[in-house]
């Protein structure tokens, strides 16, 4: 048997099947992105700046090729809403809301990471979500909530609550355009 495994022909075709314990657990964490984030968030901390146009553009879903790899539609794993609350207030209130819902929060590089601890210790991660705030103007902020893995229904519930509690009400959005100078 060992001899067969050594054979070149076998090696070329054979891929050992990787038994993945829990599919949900293999969350691709965007660690590589957090390194970039810290540079810009430090800059934004001292001055109230306008969002960089290229940063805004870069948020386009169509420039996000992860759609190739994800089974779910982008709307199932990423949600954005605008808010008049300041970033500090937003982060605090998001933390309050999610903690009340039974989630655990980790803060890193200006981003908030939400993890739900399942009661069953065998599968501790049930939902992993990251929240980030972008300044569009001194009175208007964009909150992005991204799901890296976990239950879709739970994620939707969380997003609805956050945008309902913290977002700009739909009716107000159109009126606000005059004040955003």
């Amino acid at each position: 048997m060992a001899g067969i495994k050594e054979d070149q022909w076998f090696k070329r075709r054979y891929t050992p099947v990787n038994p993945v314990e829990d599919k949900e657990a293999t969350c691709i964490d965007d660690e590589s992105l957090t390194i970039h984030e810290s540079a810009s968030s430090e800059k934004d901390a001292d001055s109230s700046t306008l969002i960089n146009a290229f940063e805004l553009i870069g948020m386009s879903s169509s420039l996000d090729l992860s759609g190739f790899f994800e089974k779910e539609d982008v709307s199932e794993r990423r949600m954005r809403f605008t808010s008049h609350h300041s970033p500090k207030e937003l982060m605090e209130r998001i933390e309050d809301i999610v903690t009340q819902m039974g989630f655990v929060v980790q803060k890193r590089n200006g981003k908030l990471k939400v993890v739900e601890l399942h009661k069953d210790r065998n599968s501790p991660v049930n939902l992993s979500v990251a929240a980030e705030v972008f300044e569009i103007s001194p009175s208007l902020y964009l909150v992005e909530v991204r799901k890296s893995c976990g239950d879709a229904k739970l994620y939707r519930q969380l997003c609805e609550k956050l945008s309902h509690d913290l977002g700009v009400p739909r009716s107000q959005k159109l009126l606000n355009t005059e004040f955003l100078v």
């Binding site: 075709r13 984030e37 540079a39």
Partner: protein, 213 residues
């Protein structure tokens, strides 16, 4: 001959050997083979001809073949290196390679520049920047006043156009990205690092070929 049908492995048009592609990109041979599985899936979603058409790219990104989008158009044009209206496997792998976490930063910066140079003049003009901002706002259902859009575009443009000649060239873009690294955040797909895990169907493929022996 026998009762079983012998299945000859038919490759898609524009197919290139995984070993060749691996040597010229940031992918390993197994990763290129896994990408082939992805490619076959994407290229057969609407027109089953082994090539990715624009509608199929739109479908892959938006789950809607009809969603026309400025940015998706640019992505398509850049992936379609030969400019023959379709994306072949080789083009697909070489372009995706730029999004690999290990790909050279300069490749990412360059790709982003060409992406944003909407009319391919070699410069990112102010009108192009504004057009992209408007497209993004429209796509995200965000409403900002005209004045505000001008403000954002002006500020960014002033920051980037250090030579003050009314357009952003590649050199200015490079400098700008060095100062704001998050601008090319969308040029990296962490998925590409573990693509063989994402496509276990590759294992099935080996089994199919074994049956031909």
């Amino acid at each position: 001959m026998g009762c079983f049908s012998s299945k000859t492995t038919k490759y898609t048009p524009g197919y290139e050997e995984p070993t060749v592609l691996a040597s010229e990109t940031s992918f390993t041979v197994s990763e290129v083979e896994a990408l082939y599985e992805l490619f076959k899936k994407l290229s057969s979603s609407i027109i089953d001809d082994g090539l990715i058409h624009k509608e199929e790219l739109q479908f892959a990104l938006f789950r809607n073949r009809n969603t026309k989008n400025l940015f998706a158009d640019r992505i398509f044009d850049l992936f379609d290196v030969k400019r023959n209206g379709v994306i072949e496997f080789g083009e697909f792998v070489r372009s995706l390679s730029i999004f690999h976490p290990d790909a050279p930063l300069s490749d990412k910066i360059d790709f982003a520049f060409r992406l944003y140079d909407l009319r391919q003049t070699g410069y990112i003009e102010r009108e192009e920047l504004k057009e992209m901002v408007v497209a993004l706002l429209h796509e995200s259902d965000l409403i900002l006043s005209e004045d505000y859009i001008e403000l954002i575009v002006d500020k960014t443009y002033t920051d980037a156009d250090t030579k003050g000649d009314g357009r952003i060239d590649q050199e200015e873009w490079k400098e700008f990205v060095w100062k704001n690294p998050s601008l090319i955040k969308n040029m990296t797909l962490p998925y590409l690092k573990d693509i063989t895990l994402a496509f276990p169907s590759f294992v099935l493929k080996s089994e199919v070929e074994d049956s031909e022996m």
